[in-house]
């Protein structure tokens, strides 16, 4: 792979359908916020100083000790990418939407070839270390992020305060600087109407829930990201364990909801195969409709109603049909109407290639 591949191939390691609890948990992410003690936070830096930060981080990251501990990291500067390419990084969840907005001077991304490890430079903080794995892998993602952090800290002087821990531009991230999250596919809880209550309960437990790609009340594709909000006063392992415990319960609830739905088997089968039929043969499709149908299809695959479609492919399609990737695939700017035609074709081509669906 490599950077060119990252920008042309919609596939990423986190989309693999082989992670633990993949029927419900799409991916797990850990993010560590770190700042250099000798610089003001990025939003107060002059462009030349941002370049200095970028340079300092790159020097630290390109040392052989880092490569031997956590793998080789490649640097890309945002100014060297086209707007569409930057948007692709967002759609593949490698950078935040804010990262590609505003002045891009000094902003860069360190990326390991498999896209599991990445570091945003000069986002809200100087460094945002991220590890992204398929399935429920919070512990593994944390351990990896911890190693990347240690490796970079061999030469970087972090801003750290005995009482407040790792100092961050926003006090909501201070302390551990740790944000742990999982992306969950929860069509069962949505269909049985239990999702709103679940969201309320989670926020009472100090967790944040947001719909992915979503507009309005229903998250597109029934994908929800659940993360910790408190970063100070708890150890990293404690934060990870806490979220893990709650996600395990959510998985159980989602499976229970799916079982309830499965009692009306014919109805559910009909829903899943209709979704497959439309995705397989439609000639124009909006991203919203496609997300809804892909969610139904993913549910069908997870429940074994439809056989032969890999789970990872469904996740990949959910990413592939996002606007920038659609544009990138055909190589020119498209009107929304043209996009719908291209999107339908992309989905058809992927589904045509798999044999023995039943």
């Amino acid at each position: 792979m490599g950077l060119r591949e990252t920008l042309t191939n919609p596939r990423s390691r986190w989309m693999d359908g082989d992670g633990p609890e993949a029927d419900v948990v799409v991916s797990s992410r850990v993010r560590l916020a770190r700042n250099l003690k000798d610089f003001l936070f990025p939003h107060r830096l002059k462009p030349t100083q941002k370049e200095e930060v970028l340079h300092a981080v790159w020097v630290a990251a390109s040392r052989p000790e880092v490569a031997s501990r956590v793998g080789k990291l490649e640097l890309v500067r945002l100014v060297d990418l086209t707007p569409v390419e930057r948007q692709i990084l967002v759609e593949k969840h490698l950078v935040s939407p804010d990262f590609i907005k505003g002045d891009l001077t000094g902003r860069g991304l360190l990326l390991r070839e498999d896209e599991v490890v990445s570091v945003m430079i000069n986002e809200e903080d100087h460094l945002r270390i991220q590890c992204l794995l398929p399935g429920l892998e919070l512990e593994a993602a944390w351990k990896l992020a911890d190693q990347v952090d240690d490796a970079l800290e061999l030469t970087l002087d972090y801003a750290y305060h005995q009482n407040y821990g790792y100092l961050t531009a926003c006090p909501t991230n201070v302390g551990t600087g740790l944000r742990v999250s999982s992306m969950l596919h929860l069509p069962g809880l949505v269909l049985v109407g239990a999702i709103d209550e679940m969201i309320t309960n989670l926020s009472k437990l100090g967790l944040a829930v947001r719909g992915l790609y979503g507009e309005g009340t229903r998250a597109a594709g029934d994908l929800f990201q659940i993360s910790n909000q408190i970063t100070l006063g708890r150890g990293e392992e404690e934060i990870v364990r806490h979220l893990y415990g709650i996600i395990r319960k959510l998985i159980a609830q989602e499976r229970e909801s799916r079982e309830t739905l499965y009692r009306q088997r014919e109805q559910l089968e009909d829903r899943v195969f209709r979704a497959y039929g439309i995705l397989r043969y439609a000639r124009a499709i909006t991203s919203q409709e496609a997300m809804r149908l892909l969610s139904d299809l993913r549910l069908g695959v997870a429940l074994g109603i439809i056989k032969g479609v890999p789970l990872g492919l469904v996740t990949e399609l959910m990413v592939l049909i996002q606007p920038a990737l659609v544009i990138k695939t055909v190589g020119k700017n498209l009107s929304p109407g043209e996009r719908d035609v291209v999107r339908a074709r992309l989905i058809r081509e992927r589904l045509e290639n798999i044999k023995g669906v039943k």
Binding site: R44, D150, H161, Y164, L167, C170, T176, T231, G233
Partner: protein, 177 residues
């Protein structure tokens, strides 16, 4: 029953909301309830930025510009912090300490880090924080009735306390600027 927000004080304010036949309950202590504005009859929500400005600058109160606290390193004022929700540099945490601590307590419930420390700084601060972390784990282990684990933790704490001259109690009071 303990307050659902601070998990420390007993819950004395019980808040029930029914929307579309969905019942939501919230049990809080008086302090948290007041802070969250439950008594005003709207569901508790705290968008960070609005919370910040309300925190330092109650309606009608103006601070004279020259008397306002300013970070000596980057020049950020409390007002600017309140407006954007972002600090300007690492030193702001000490310079704007009262405001910062108020926010930290509100967002995180505490103002004291107990997690990881940079390895190269660890020698200085690591041991004390480590003891606090272990104490928390010990309490957790006892609560879960994992006594073998608790015994291990207790021994580890004793060991560390020996090395730091038993100063762990004072760990959070030192001037750490």
């Amino acid at each position: 029953m303990l307050c659902e927000r601070c998990h420390k004080r007993p819950a004395t304010v019980h808040y029930t909301e029914i929307v579309n036949n969905q019942k939501k309950e919230l049990h809080l202590c008086e302090e948290c309830a007041r802070e969250m504005g439950v008594s005003f009859g709207f569901p508790p929500q705290f968008p960070f930025h609005s919370l910040l400005s309300g925190l330092f600058f109650p309606a009608g109160e103006e601070v004279e510009a020259e008397r306002e606290v300013r970070c000596p390193r980057c020049g950020l004022t409390e007002r600017e912090f309140a407006a954007r929700g972002l600090l300007g540099c690492p030193q702001c945490y000490s310079a704007l300490r009262p405001a910062v601590e108020q926010v930290l307590r509100r967002v995180h419930g505490v103002a004291r880090h107990t997690g990881k420390a940079p390895r190269r700084q660890k020698e200085v601060v690591g041991k004390l924080t480590e003891i606090e972390r272990l104490r928390r784990e010990l309490a957790e282990a006892v609560r879960r009735e994992e006594y073998e684990r608790a015994a291990e933790l207790r021994d580890r704490i004793r060991e560390l306390e020996k090395n730091t001259g038993g100063k762990a109690e004072n760990g959070s009071k030192g001037n750490s600027d």
